[in-house]
């Protein structure tokens, strides 16, 4: 307590220092006068009285010093003094300060921006309480290799919930589009049918109203809905009386019972939720993986334990229900990590690249600072000679570098508010809305704390580095050599080493940039086997209520296809279950080949199933390899047929006798009809992450109609302009049907790899920054070394060296530094390349030509940076140079 009180007093004493000084002087004065008076009374002479009084008092200045230290806070005072001094020196060297601040700001800013992404997407993707206890649970049938489907069969989910004691609760849901009718219009809405405990498991309750009750899980009682905050604002203009109102969706009436808090849209980007009401038969289903599932782990249970518990349930089910569950495993994955299986390495790599940029910036700054120390050696020597201790000098330097990094950090933070927003909005919302946490990319407290930590670390490290470096300054020698320039030696080598490191970092960053760009171009290229240009694409979903049977569905799509194909400029139109580049995997299915005995379900061959109308192959220009594709004549009344992909034919009919063979969907005992293979088409890559095209079966849509389809239309040019015409066609048939995601197929492809694109852009940016920084570094070292060698150059010139030889000397040094940097950098670049290609899909070995190009580029930049110092060296006047000696 007393200590604190005294501390405040002392803090307060930092102000009004002169008044305090004066008061103390008065007090001393009074003291001396009283003492003299006493001495005089004791009979001393005037002079002696004064002498004795002063002797007794002791050294006045020393007393004052001690008194001053007791009065104020010396540490703080010297800090303020140092700060003033640092500000003055920085202001006196605007060139140095600007370059240092910009360099550091670049490094810190890059890290702030990338960290804001890492923070939002990896550290805080969801805002659920105890996020680490939430896991996604799904089943793997053993046939989904390479596919990324995370579904579970309803009965299996129920068994898992009751049979594995690791879950607090397990919930299931099924998402899809809803057609919302409002004021005569139909709009698509993203909705999800969820179990009653869905919101409980997530730990989020409605901001107003209520969640679902168990009774609402019964078919017939399920016409209630909970809407998201965003949907409430957008669709209902924030209507305060929305609760209890009835909305019309998919031809049914739903009463709104709850509004979720702002920001809740799980699973992203849902707008509304209705109860998942399954019939007893649906609930008992084990065959079809129709639901998604999410569970909250019991406290203290970790994912590994949950996984083994789920595994034992899965094993039991395998034995009890071999017909459906053979080979079926259960997967458990933390919700936080689920969505980042593919993107986590991307962000870690970006963060690593940003750290690289910072290191480069630091190397540059170190070079600048060391150059300055040599310039200030005389000052340091003088300070040391006048009694400044190491500690005192160290504090001075640390204050200076801290000030520098704080200014740079301030600039970086100010810019990052803008740059982070640019980063966030640089990818189409239609893609980012599927990325949980994307909207949370911003400079928040965590990001600021990170940046401040970075600023402090950088400032302190540099200060300490400078201190260690300056400690070798010998006041005697330095002052003695005052006439000459400062002598270097080991320090010159250190600075050269820094430049070598810069060249190395620059090469590695350039290689990273090259690799990601290469990957992006390759991924765009992945979608081969079809022509994406001039294709319009949209999704259609028919509600079950108004389209209960196959004939109604087929009839609707038939009319849509005829209507749109007859639009002027339209070449052909088709519908398909899953268009390429949708970022959704195809449905995977078992199939049985007639005449080949298979014993168990799990031994059946498997493949992707696509259902399309006849013109699919002509719309996407997928080449026919053999036989024919189906036509409109292959309708519900005709014999069932199928077309298979080339890789499927090659895998199951290596002898090439597939045409005319019969297959059926499902295992040997399935009730599905036999399909005759009538043709083979070229492989199509479905999504960029599929390592290869998977065997695919195409079934004619009019023999197996589906309610949800993707509509594709090839036109002669300008596909976007057909959007409204297609909308009109659909409205003319049924004004209750909404079209979602209308746009061009090309756009869909670029959007599907947007994250790789932005990463390529960022990497390229980092690479350019690295190049610029390392050229500044090379320039700095050479300029400094030329300045130092002016006497030597003078001697050389005086002894008859040509200016060309001098120039060669400087360029030679530049080439040497760059060469060493590259020699170290190339193996590191290869190692980074190997690490990246194992982490990130789509990255392959670096093109050697590209690597050589980068090396040449770095040499070129180094030579360009050496040009000014070289010219200066050539123009050295031997007489002037020697006069300095």
């Amino acid at each position: 307590m007393r200590g604190l009180r005294a501390w405040f007093w002392r803090l307060g004493s930092l102000f009004g220092k002169e008044r305090h000084e004066e008061e103390f002087a008065q007090e001393m004065q009074a003291h001396v006068e009283m003492h003299i008076a006493d001495n005089l009374r004791a009979g001393m002479s005037g002079q002696e009285a004064r002498r004795q009084a002063l002797l007794k008092l002791g050294g006045v200045e020393a007393t004052k010093e001690i008194y001053r230290e007791q009065r104020g806070l010396p540490v703080l005072e010297t800090f303020l003094q140092d700060l003033r001094y640092a500000t003055r020196t920085l202001r006196k060297n605007p060139g140095f300060t600007t370059i240092a601040v910009l360099t550091l700001a670049l490094g810190i800013g890059a890290n702030t921006a990338i960290f804001s992404m890492v923070n939002a997407l990896l550290l805080h993707p969801y805002n659920f309480p105890e996020l680490d206890r939430l896991v996604r649970v799904w089943e793997n049938r053993g046939i989904d290799e390479g596919a990324d489907t995370r579904f579970i069969a309803p009965q299996d989910a129920a068994d898992l919930s009751s049979g594995a004691p690791v879950f607090d609760a397990l919930t299931t849901y099924a998402c899809g589009d809803f057609n919302l009718s409002a004021e005569g219009n139909v709009q698509p809405a993203r909705g999800c049918r969820v179990s009653a405990n869905f919101f409980d498991v997530l730990g989020v309750s409605p901001a107003s109203g209520r969640a679902f009750s168990l009774t609402e899980e019964q078919p017939g009682a399920d016409q209630v809905a909970v809407v998201s905050y965003g949907f409430w604002q957008r669709q209902f203009a924030g209507d305060a009386a929305l609760l209890g109102k009835v909305i019309q969706m998919n031809g049914k009436r739903y009463t709104v019972v709850g509004i979720m808090p702002r920001g809740f849209d799980y699973p992203v980007p849902m707008e509304l939720w209705v109860p998942l009401a399954l019939s007893p038969a649906e609930k008992a289903d084990r065959a079809k993986l129709s639901l998604e599932s999410l569970a909250r782990l019991k406290p203290g249970i970790d994912v590994a334990e949950a996984r083994s518990a789920a595994d034992s349930v899965a094993k039991r089910l395998q034995q009890e229900y071999p017909a459906t569950n053979a080979n079926r495993r259960t997967e458990v994955l933390q919700l936080r990590r689920e969505l980042y299986l593919y993107t986590l390495p991307l962000f870690l790599l970006l963060q690593a690249a940003a750290v690289f940029v910072l290191l480069l910036a630091c190397a540059n700054l170190a070079n600048l600072l060391f150059a300055r120390i040599f310039g200030r050696q005389k000052e340091i020597a003088l300070r040391t000679a006048l009694g400044a201790g190491r500690w005192r000098l160290a504090r001075l330097f640390v204050t200076e570098t801290l000030l520098l990094s704080c200014i740079a950090g301030g600039v970086a933070i100010a810019v990052s508010f803008w740059s982070v927003r640019v980063l966030r909005t640089s990818i189409a919302p239609s893609w980012t809305m599927w990325v949980p946490g994307w909207d949370g990319i911003q400079v928040d407290c965590t990001v600021l704390a990170f940046t401040v930590l970075l600023i402090g670390t950088v400032g302190l490290l540099f200060g300490l580095g400078t201190v260690l470096h300056s400690n070798q300054a010998q006041p005697y020698n330095t002052l003695k050599e005052a006439g000459r320039g400062p002598m270097l030696g080991s320090k010159g080598r250190l600075r050269s080493a820094l430049v070598v490191a810069q060249v190395m970092f620059a090469l590695v960053l350039l290689v990273c940039a090259g690799l990601t760009t290469q990957a992006f171009l390759r991924l765009v290229d992945v979608y081969q086997g079809f022509a994406a240009a001039n294709v319009l694409r949209t999704e259609v979903r028919l509600p079950e209520k108004s389209y209960p049977g196959n004939s109604q569905v087929a009839n609707f799509y038939d009319r849509v296809l005829r209507g749109s194909a007859s639009l002027p400029g339209a070449n052909a139109a088709t519908v398909v279950t899953n268009s390429p580049a949708s970022n959704v995997d195809n449905e995977t299915t078992f199939f049985t080949i007639k005449g080949r005995a298979t014993l168990k379900a799990n031994e059946s061959p498997s493949g992707d199933l696509q259902i399309s109308s006849p013109d699919y192959f002509s719309v996407l220009r997928i080449p026919v390899v053999a036989g024919r594709v189906y036509s409109y004549a292959d309708n519900a009344n005709a014999a069932r047929v199928a077309v298979i992909s080339r890789s499927m034919a090659g895998r199951y009919w290596p002898s090439g006798d597939e045409l005319g063979q019969q297959i059926k969907i499902g295992a040997a005992d399935s009730k599905e009809p036999w399909l005759t293979i009538v043709g083979i088409v070229e492989d199509v890559r479905q999504n960029w992450w599929n390592p290869a095209s998977r065997p695919t079966i195409y079934e004619p849509f009019f023999q197996a109609p589906q309610r949800s389809m993707v509509f594709l239309m090839r036109v002669s040019s300008n596909p976007e302009s057909y959007a409204s015409a297609v909308r009109d066609v659909v409205r003319g048939i049924d004004d209750q049907i909404a079209l979602t995601g209308i746009g061009t197929l090309e756009r869909e492809i670029t959007d599907s790899i947007a994250i790789i694109r932005i990463m390529g852009v960022l990497m390229a940016l980092f690479g350019c920054v690295a190049l610029a920084l390392s050229s500044v570094g090379v320039y700095g070292v050479l300029a400094e070394s030329v300045a130092r060698r002016i006497p030597e150059i003078g001697v050389r010139l005086a002894l008859g060296a040509e200016p060309r030889d001098v120039m060669r000397l400087v360029f030679g040094q530049a080439l040497k530094l760059t060469g060493i940097g590259l020699a170290i950098g190339v193996p590191i670049a290869f190692a980074v390349n190997r690490a990246m290609s194992s982490l990130i899909f789509g990255i392959v070995s670096i093109n050697l030509l590209l690597l050589a190009g980068f090396a040449l580029l770095l040499f070129g930049v180094a030579l360009a940076a050496a040009y000014i110092p070289a010219r200066r060296a050539m123009r050295v006047d031997p007489m002037a140079a020697l006069r300095y000696e």
């Binding site: 200590g3 009180r5 007093w9 009074a30 003291h31 007393t63 007791q70």
Partner: protein, 114 residues
């Protein structure tokens, strides 16, 4: 160096507090004289060292200072014990007595018979 000063300042503070307790409000010179007189020649220190100690005591709230006029009409700064200072004095004095009595017993020759 620092340690020695602390010990000295600790005892010096106690002496200052005791002086002010005994004599009432007093200026720095008076305190110095009093301490010197009481201790005889044993404590021949510079008067100057007293002032940082006074400042420290004031910062800690044990004494208060105000400008006043001395006996011979000189302007001088007078120090006065506060209530907290009085308590501190009692505490310190007690501690000091305890320490000295322990030390005394410890150093007393040949009394460790039983």
């Amino acid at each position: 160096m620092a340690e020695k000063k602390d010990v000295w300042q600790g005892t010096l503070a106690l002496m200052v507090l005791k002086t002010l307790d005994t004599l009432g409000p007093l200026h720095g010179y008076g305190i110095a004289r009093r301490i010197e007189q009481t201790s005889g020649d044993l404590l021949a220190v510079n008067y100057g060292t007293l002032y940082p100690a006074l400042l420290k005591l004031e910062q800690e709230g044990y004494i208060r200072s105000e400008w006043g006029v001395s006996d011979n009409n000189r302007k001088a700064k007078y120090y006065k014990l506060t209530r907290a200072g009085r308590k501190q004095l009692e505490r310190e004095a007690r501690d000091w007595e305890k320490t000295t009595s322990i030390l005394a017993r410890f150093l007393a020759p040949g009394e460790e018979t039983s």
